[in-house]
Symmetry: C2
Subunit: 115 residues, 2 copies
């Protein structure tokens, strides 16, 4: 029976008790990075532009850090990209989550299958 | 800024894609063990007796394992206790969760504070 059991985890990051980063929020940031556009990132997540923008502003306020910057106009129209700090946080979060998923499998094996 | 960031995790265990153990469910089992009574355990969690009993039955069905056994009558009235397998699973889950919380702190340190 224990072989069929699977560990599951959800991770997130708080600052002063407030949610700042989660899989969902980081996915929004990653989609902005991939698309160079907040509108496209919002659409890919089924969010309104206004709601996606509000989410980004909320994360920035809670962190006290600018995560995206927008440029206006130019040949291809405006663009929204991650700041260096935004890219760094996304990478840190992804690493944290990825490593902890591995740890969860290992700890689960030690706790549930060691007897 | 990163010093104020805190990792948070939630863990649970599934079998064949179905939730079987979570902090909430294991707390109910631990309260049964501590009180020797499903009624007292349910009351401590603000659950009706019927709902607590249904939760236990659901876990048992999903796991295919008996987790509690009840005795009827006797000088102190009936009692509900964990089976040996129930005690074992509670211990395994607690260890899994405890160790993974430690891992989360360590991984977070490596991912977010290493630069």
């Amino acid at each position: 029976m224990p072989e069929a059991l699977q560990p599951r985890i959800k991770v997130w990051v708080e600052k002063d008790g407030r949610l700042v980063l989660s899989d969902y929020r980081v996915r929004l940031l990653e989609l902005i990075a991939a698309n160079g556009s907040l509108a496209d990132a919002a659409a890919a997540m089924g969010l309104s532009y206004r709601r996606a923008w509000g989410k980004i502003r909320e994360i920035e306020e809670n962190l006290g850090v600018k995560l995206v910057h927008s440029t206006v106009g130019g040949p291809g129209g405006g663009a929204t990209r991650l700041t260096a700090e935004g890219e760094r946080l996304v990478g840190q979060y992804d690493r944290f989550r990825r490593e902890l998923v591995k740890d969860a499998d290992a700890e689960f094996g030690r706790s549930f299958r060691a007897d």
